[in-house]
């Protein structure tokens, strides 16, 4: 099953939820729609399922126009965020539902349905739950039942809305690996929605990052992690430290910052912003360093440092493994910053964070305007 979405848009009243989505999903692919809440990812999923319709655009599956088709005719498996299990039916009845509502002519015999349910219960490793009611199950068990119910109809396409949204952290991590195995084994083309990048990266072959109704970037987990295409994606993927720098011959320069570990970039000289993850910055103790260590907090494995820039008062947060922390880090001490990896975007608009803005004006009179390298963005 392959799916092509083109120029799709959807508005609710005055709010544009989708603004021109173009997306192709290949047969057997496992695709994550990743974005913050309100980015339109769930709406897109519902449109694919036939639970909502766009205002413009096309949706084709195997070359066939799907928009005139009702949800009942699309044969998709939809797993809802809160599972939406039928509360008055047992686990086995829930899984059998999609088969028992088939027209008499195409409906399998009760015996065949029972066999299929048994097979799925075994596949999902929950045969002991067949006679239980949803209220008697844990969150992780409910998710398996919901998945089984969706897979029972042999869907052409499996859609999952925040598959781990209703689970606690430990169960989440365990189920993630399990779900990936199940989906790969089943071989069904799958699209799932999540706001958790770790989830998206671990599960998906390809990640589609959405923001404010648009697709910001599409790529493999590694591509997106290492090369976010826009400041929006960079921020969303945890590059929360934004340092104003000046580009000279493809290298970022700023007082107190040693950017020699970063590769040269093919960008014009001028003002730029360096986006960094707190864990990609090494603090180097230096009595002449521009940054002062305000606080050091330990989470056990990690040290979290809050730094302030002596001149502007900018705050920078750094996270380093405690056992790799250089000697001589102490509250009140001075450091230089050594970014190990980061992303540069040329600047044309005001920096959105006021603290960063203050830092910028402290040493760069031209700062204050910033632009995305590949895409314009507004915030």
């Amino acid at each position: 099953m392959s799916m092509t979405i083109a120029h799709m848009s959807r508005r609710f009243g005055a709010t544009e939820v989708l603004r021109g989505i173009d997306l192709t999903v290949a047969r057997g692919e496992l695709v994550a729609l990743l974005g913050p809440s309100g980015s339109g990812k769930t709406t897109l999923l519902k449109i694919i399922a036939g639970l909502d319709w766009p205002d413009a655009g096309t949706l084709e599956v195997n070359g066939e126009d799907w928009l005139p088709k009702r949800a009942q005719e699309r044969r998709i498996g939809f797993v809802f965020q809160h599972y939406a299990l039928f509360a008055h039916m047992t686990v086995a009845e829930n899984i059998a539902f999609g088969l028992t509502v088939l027209p008499r002519a195409t409906r399998p015999s009760p015996r065949q349905i029972a066999d299929k349910v048994q097979e799925l219960l075994g596949f999902l490793q929950i045969p002991q739950l067949a006679g239980r009611y949803p209220a008697e199950l844990s969150g992780g068990q409910r998710q398996r039942v919901a998945l089984g119910r969706a897979m029972a109809i042999s869907p052409q396409l499996l859609l999952l809305d925040e598959p781990f949204g209703a689970l606690d952290a430990q169960v989440r991590r365990d189920l993630r690996r399990w779900l990936r195995e199940v989906l790969v084994q089943a071989g069904t083309t799958t699209v799932f929605v999540t706001h958790d990048q770790e989830e998206a990266f671990e599960l998906a072959d390809r990640v589609v990052v959405m923001g404010a109704g648009r697709i910001e970037q599409t790529g493999s987990p590694e591509e997106i992690h290492d090369h976010p295409a826009s400041p929006f994606v960079a921020r969303f993927l945890g590059m929360t430290v934004e340092l104003p720098v000046t580009l000279r011959a493809g290298r970022a320069e700023a007082p107190g910052i040693d950017a020699s570990a970063l590769a040269r970039v093919a960008m014009a000289d001028g003002a730029a912003t360096l986006f960094l993850r707190p864990s990609d910055i090494t603090p180097v103790p230096d009595p002449e360093g521009r940054f002062t260590i305000r606080t050091i907090a330990s989470t056990g494995a990690m040290l979290r440092l809050l730094l302030t820039d002596g001149a502007g008062g900018t705050e920078v947060e750094i996270e380093i493994p405690r056992r790799l922390a250089p000697a001589g880090l102490a509250e009140g001490g001075h450091v230089r910053l050594r970014p190990e990896a980061g992303r540069l975007f040329a600047r044309t608009e005001p920096l959105s964070q006021s603290a960063a803005g203050a830092f910028a004006t402290a040493h760069d009179p031209d700062a204050g305007r910033q632009t995305a390298l590949s895409k314009e963005f507004t915030r």
């Binding site: 399922a49 036939g50 639970l51 949800a71 009942q72 005719e73 699309r74 044969r75 998709i76 498996g77 939809f78 809802f80 809160h82 939406a84 299990l85 039928f86 509360a87 008055h88 539902f97 999609g98 509502v101 088939l102 119910r149 969706a150 109809i153």
Partner: protein, 279 residues
Amino acid sequence: MSTTGTSAPGALAPRPRRGVERALIGLALVLTAGFVLVPLLYIFARAFGAGWGAFAHNVLDPGTLHAIGLTALVAVIVVPVNMAFGIAAAWAIARFRFPGRKALLTLIEIPFSISPIIAGICYLLLYGRNGLVGPWLMALDLKVLFALPGIVLVTLFVTAPFVMREVLPLMQAQGSEQEEAAVTLGASGWQIFRRVTLPNIRWALLYGAVLCGARAVGEFGAVSVVSGMIRGQTMTLPLQIELLFNDLNIVGAFAAAAVLTLLALVVLVLKAAMEARRR
């Protein structure tokens, strides 16, 4: 006595003021007994005061028997109609956003807030000889007032909100996700209603139907206006009780009242059982 339900407080908890507690509980008991229990027991005392024979004789009186039959017939018509209406209204309000949705909700609840006698008079004016549709009905030789249709209509009016009021909050709390799930699994509209929607609301629906039935059986004000109180024809049980009372047939009145009260008590037990099931 004060620590039922939750676990008892630890040993160091301050001592409750037993005196105040006991006074309040005693007051509640006295009031309940005085206002509710004693009058209720009195009905049975008077009904059975002259012995079982007299009670049976009075209940088996043709007029009272007919009244019991008519009341049952009205309830049997009204309850299913209101169940269908209640489900439809609750479904429309819970699942759709349309202009006038709030107004519809308020409109359906009007019978709760206005006096039943006003409902009776409205129907009288509407369907009466000089009313809006009365002459037209007379031309067609359809008898609404002072007959079964009139009694059924006002009872429908008075009991309209009961089922909707019970079903709507449940439907709103459950949301439409289970129904959407059924859609994606290929179920048709009727299959979704019968296999997903209805089972989910069944206890609330039955509870609403029980309340609706209790009210249909006990309604006096509205029915008294439109029934015309024709002996042996349009007397429902509450009307019959008043008639017997006015005829100074005190034992007969209390016997009929005892039957109605028993019906109400049965409803009360059903209601309690259903509330337990709903949790």
